[in-house]
């Protein structure tokens, strides 16, 4: 039910925001903004998409078709929105999942590396995390292309349909998230290491590495796990930039071009898909948290 409300609220917000911003959506079908189409053509399009109806009626019609799981047709692309989304989702999903995976690996590595070492190592790690989490995608992407494509020729600067083409966009998306995750993890790892159970584990003969991997990391991962659903939303935002720079097909680019021409059904579709994925991910991370943290499972709410 809560998930349903989130989706309905997103759809409503998009409906009204897209109509508040300047620009005539009828032009999306007529060659984009600045169209000089004939009166008949403009009227035909207005009738076809129902722009001649009062706003409340348009809203009602839009919500009813969403209830029937009908996302409608793109004004500009003359295709069902569902088809457009199905084409775009895989690219973004691959990118987001891989980026999240790489971010986790980087974050765990960074956290473990620091917890072993000296204060200086911790300082360096700390700075690294803050810098990483603050890096804008467009800047990181440009630097990565300049270094690894233009100078070293290790990876292609644009999508090639091969795994090597994925490396730079995935890293671009992963680095800032890894920074966030590591910051959160390191704090709770330190707490766990200072906790009495850590001392007793060491007393039982657990090695330092074993302590970290088998016991403390579990605690450290919990808050970061909760962040993952949020991180996914952040990744979709980053996808707009990364997909554009690396010329990869996906939801982000679909959204950008749809907004440019005021292609409302497509904008709505992308937002709904993102909201849906966010809802699902929140449910999944909640479930995983319960698995990892027995307290939440037993105590419950």
């Amino acid at each position: 039910m809560r998930a349903f409300i989130v989706l309905w609220a997103s759809a409503t917000l998009v409906f009204f925001i897209t109509r508040l911003v300047p620009g005539d959506p009828a032009e999306a079908a007529l060659g984009g903004p600045g169209s000089q189409a004939s009166e008949e053509a403009v009227e035909a399009v207005r009738r076809q998409f129902g722009f001649d109806q009062p706003l409340v009626v348009q809203y009602g019609i839009a919500m009813l078709s969403l209830l029937r799981l009908d996302l409608g047709s793109s004004y500009a692309l003359r295709q069902p929105v569902a088809t457009i989304l199905l084409d775009a989702v895989p690219g973004t999903l691959v990118l987001a999942v891989l980026a999240l995976l790489v971010a986790w690996i980087l974050a765990i590595g960074l956290t473990l590396a620091q917890s072993q070492g000296s204060r200086i190592a911790a300082r360096i790690g700390d700075t690294l995390e803050i810098v990483a989490s603050a890096l804008p995608h467009f800047w990181l992407a440009t630097i990565l292309i300049a270094v690894f494509s233009t100078a070293l020729s290790w990876f292609p600067p644009v999508s090639t349909g091969t795994p090597t083409g994925l490396v730079l966009p995935v890293v671009t998306l992963a680095v800032p998230i890894a920074g966030f995750l590591a910051q959160v993890m390191r704090g709770s790892l330190q707490e766990a290491l200072d906790a009495p159970f850590a001392t007793s584990a060491l007393a039982r003969g657990e090695t330092r590495v074993g302590l970290r991997v088998r016991h403390a990391l579990r605690h450290a991962a919990l808050p970061a796990l909760g962040l993952s659903a949020w991180a996914f939303g952040y990744l979709i935002g980053g996808a707009v930039v990364v997909e554009t720079i690396f010329a990869r097909p996906g939801l982000g680019r679909t959204l950008l071009s749809a907004i440019t021409v005021r292609d409302i059904p497509v904008v709505t579709g992308v937002v709904l898909v993102s909201a849906l994925v966010y809802v699902i991910l929140t449910l999944v991370t909640d479930a995983v948290t319960r698995l990892v943290d027995p307290r939440t499972a037993v105590g419950g709410r």
Binding site: A29, G31, G32, P33, V158, F246, A247, P249
Partner: protein, 546 residues
């Protein structure tokens, strides 16, 4: 009176042959010596927006024209000197009253679906453009005066006009009026948008949205335009037409060999590439209007010609262009692109003279100055609203506007730059909320002047669009433009257009900046690519890879 003529021809000729000439800049053998090699696939990376429909009849914008040039052809074309030349039509005649045109079509041409090119096909295409269901904008406007097209015989199409239109041939040469297979058009808008069927050197094989259009060679190609390098099918096996929106990525992809040609090359990249011996530039400025600032003469303060002149004298365009475009763009002082034989320019009107600007403002009553240094009149500040489209103005151009803003502030103009996305920008224009605007307009031939400066152009189209942003409302200019439009005699027509341009320039309605920039970078492995003399889209019909 036509100082531009010789230069404009030279520019275009240079553009067309630069791929040849520059690739042989050192002591390399002439490409002709090795001869064209068959085979290979060329990868093109476009920075233009991905079209939403590949049929340029629908809507009708430049990204569609770029792609359509590869697989569709028009009745006529235009050569490097700006002369109309045969293409799908071998020859044509016009009646004395200018109302009846007859086109003799090339014999034996077939569309790639096997449908023969005949007079009925031409009639079907014009009907398609005029059908509201096609949702045409550019093409529909261009054939507004055509009342009917009939087949006199198989290969003769007769156009009947409602009034004489001296721009008909130029209009028909544009990719937005390309001739498509009638059988293809009958499939309906959805299917035809995916893969329009034409007579061109390549055929649309597939379109992967947001990624690429795959084009393959048309083995039966016979209909090269009169100025083509060779007859018969293309040397290339095909073209991978990729969409790479980011300028830096596009250049990186070219450097890494991922792609062979890139378009929309920005000034900073052009300068970087200058030193490279593996890249060649193709500079093909677009036809029609120059990039220029239009001064909205319909409302205060620019309803006063002295204020318009004061603004124009207050900005140092020459210095701004040379510093921000780093020698990649040449200053213009004409309403028309340098590729237009009818272009008329008058540099003396646009010299930088802040002192004169100040005097003009005094004269116009803007004689007080407020605490911030801006001129005032009756307590009101001399403010200019300047909406800028981030889709239409490249970063270098936006920086240029900022520089002009700073220049104008010295004299006392408070220029308010507003960076807007395309839809918001058109909305601001439609609401008459602008004093200054830069709105490029591409069209073959000087008839673009009628669209931009005839008082009819102040009335918005049903969609809200209007082209006369300077809101020039001068009966004398209207008369000149109407007469030019009805005059089929070339010399007479040109002189009428020159007079109209002189009036527009002397009225200080516009501040010309430079040609609409259209730079391509090609790998030196690509030979004999050229830009068509129509809307400067690249053609690869003669191109080959080494």
């Amino acid at each position: 009176m036509r100082p531009q003529l010789s230069r404009s021809s030279a520019v275009l000729a240079t553009a067309v042959i630069s791929a040849l000439a520059l690739s042989a800049c050192s002591s390399d053998p002439e490409p002709a010596a090795t001869g064209p090699t068959e085979g290979g696939t060329l990868t093109y990376a476009s920075g233009d927006a991905e079209p939403t429909c590949l049929d340029p009849h629908v809507g009708g914008n430049y990204p569609q024209a770029l792609l359509a040039t590869q697989f569709l052809e028009s009745l006529v074309s235009r050569d490097a000197d700006g002369a109309i030349i045969p293409w799908l039509a071998d020859s044509w005649t016009v009646s004395d009253d200018g109302l009846t045109w007859e086109f003799a079509l090339a014999d034996g041409v077939t569309f790639t679906d096997g449908t023969p090119l005949d007079a009925d096909a031409v009639a079907a295409n014009i009907a398609h453009l005029q059908d509201p269901a096609t949702q045409s904008s550019t093409g529909y406007l261009a054939v507004e005066k055509v009342t009917s097209v009939e087949a006199v015989d198989d290969l003769t199409a007769r156009f009947t006009l409602s009034e004489p239109d001296s721009a008909l041939l130029e209009s028909l040469s544009q990719p937005w009026l390309a001739i498509e297979s009638p059988a293809g058009l009958e499939r309906g808008i959805e299917e035809n948008c995916e893969s329009p069927i034409g007579t061109g050197p390549f055929v649309v094989e597939s379109w992967t949205k947001q990624d690429r259009v795959t084009l393959v060679r048309n083995d039966d190609y016979t209909s090269a335009p009169a100025d083509a390098g060779h007859d018969g099918s293309a040397y290339l096996d095909g073209i991978e037409w990729r969409f790479i929106p980011d300028s830096a990525s596009r250049y990186a992809a070219l450097q890494s060999g991922e792609v062979d040609v890139i378009d929309n090359v920005q000034p900073d990249v052009l300068v970087q590439a200058e030193g490279s011996d593996s890249l060649v530039e193709l500079d093909a400025p677009r036809p029609g209007a120059t990039n220029r600032l239009e001064l909205n003469s319909g409302t205060a303060p620019f309803d006063d010609v002295n204020v318009r002149e004061a603004f124009i004298r207050s900005v140092n365009v020459d210095d701004a262009v040379s510093s921000l475009f780093q020698g990649t763009a040449e200053r213009s002082s004409s309403p028309l692109a340098s590729v237009e034989p009818a272009a008329y320019s008058d540099e003396s009107l646009f010299s930088f003279d802040p002192e004169a600007a100040g005097d003009l403002l005094d004269e116009a009553g803007w004689s007080e100055t407020d605490a911030d240094g801006f001129r005032t009149k009756d307590g009101e500040r001399l403010t200019l609203t300047f909406p800028v489209s981030t889709n239409q103005s490249i970063p270098a151009e936006i920086s240029l506007f900022e520089q002009l803003q700073a220049n104008a502030a010295e004299v006392g103009f408070d220029v308010q730059l507003e960076l807007l996305d395309l839809a918001s920008w058109y909305e601001a224009l439609g609401a008459n909320e602008y004093d200054l605007v830069s709105a490029p307009y591409t069209k073959v031939g000087p008839d673009v002047l009628r669209i931009l400066y005839h008082s009819d152009g102040i009335t918005p189209a049903p969609s809200g669009y209007f082209a006369n942003h300077a809101q020039v409302d001068d009966p004398a200019i209207d008369t000149l433009l109407d007469e030019a439009s009805a005059t089929v005699d070339d010399a007479e027509r040109t002189s009428l257009y020159e007079e109209a341009q002189a009036d527009v320039l002397e009225g200080f309605y516009i501040l010309p900046l430079y040609d609409q920039q259209n730079h391509f970078l090609l790998s030196t492995d690509v030979h004999d690519a050229r830009a068509l003399g129509t809307v400067s889209t690249p053609s690869f019909a003669d191109a080959w890879l080494s």
